[in-house]
């Protein structure tokens, strides 16, 4: 059988859905962050698939930048989590309720 664009897109969508599920369900801040990262990678896959099937390289260039920025963002986010841990002694997201009225 031929592997069509739709298959790659569906796979990427599934990865995104799993990442979404992880963000919503897990209570540990780090696992949530990892699931968020997973959603980003799903988007990368979508970009590369489109780039391949539409015959232009811009998609890949964009993925290049996305990976770079994602890496920087992960680093900063983890630094923030560490600072938060030092302050609150917890990584459970349910304990962070400063936004509660």
């Amino acid at each position: 059988m031929q592997i069509t664009l739709n298959d790659y897109l569906f796979v990427a969508g599934t990865l995104f859905a799993i990442g979404l599920f992880g963000v919503l369900m897990r209570r540990n801040l780090l696992i949530i962050y990892m699931s968020l990262e997973m959603m980003l990678q799903a988007a990368n896959l979508t970009f590369v698939a489109f780039s391949r099937f539409n015959h232009h390289m811009e998609g890949q260039v964009f993925v290049f930048f996305v990976i770079t920025v994602a890496a920087a963002e992960v680093a900063v986010g983890l630094a923030l989590i560490v600072a938060l841990y030092r302050l609150k002694q917890t990584t459970t997201v349910r304990d962070l309720t400063k936004l509660k009225f």
């Binding site: 919503l24 590369v48 890949q60 260039v61």
Partner: protein
Amino acid sequence: MQPLFFWIFSIGMILCALAVVFNRNAVASALCFTFAICFMAGLFVMLSAFFLAAVQILVTAGAVMVLFLFIIMLLDLSAMEHAPRHWIWMAFSGLLALAFLALIGKTLATLPAMAEPPASYQSQAQVTAFGKTVDQNISQSRIDKGDDTHRIGRLLFATKPAPGETWESFTSYVAPFEITSLLILVATIGIIVLCKQEERPRPHHREEISREAPPVPPVREDREAALKT
């Protein structure tokens, strides 16, 4: 062969992703995520994005996940391993994820299935021109030479067109590249500032160097007290 590899890589990636989400152990989650990234790199290779596959493994699997593991091990996460699951909340979140998937499926069902083009870009390359026809580039054999790495490189770093290429068909992503490097610099500075701890008092003279242990960071038992702040 192609469908087989596609199924192996995609199903592997999906299973690893599920493991990330459902595993109680944080380290196991991180490792499963790393494997998922490797499977995704395989998918990238199948899509002829060799350079990106390599970058993905190097950066995401190699740097980002390692950083994750460092932080997981820095923070004490043993308490969450025995926490009970909230089944209702899981059901709702799962419903939402399934709804998203259904939406994707419905959208895809309306689109025509695009067949996979030939294995490489070599024969009908459109290196830079967006929407340009195939024939227009066939004659530019020098430009055609080079795989996707070459082309990504030229897209990222070229400041003038390649010999045989016109200015009209020239694009370059130098500026975003430089800005991204600036961003990484700023991120680095930011991380250092964020993770700075207060200076511990150090003894200035040799005579006063004591054999006592330096003050330790606050211990686990203070967590409940700290939670109330």
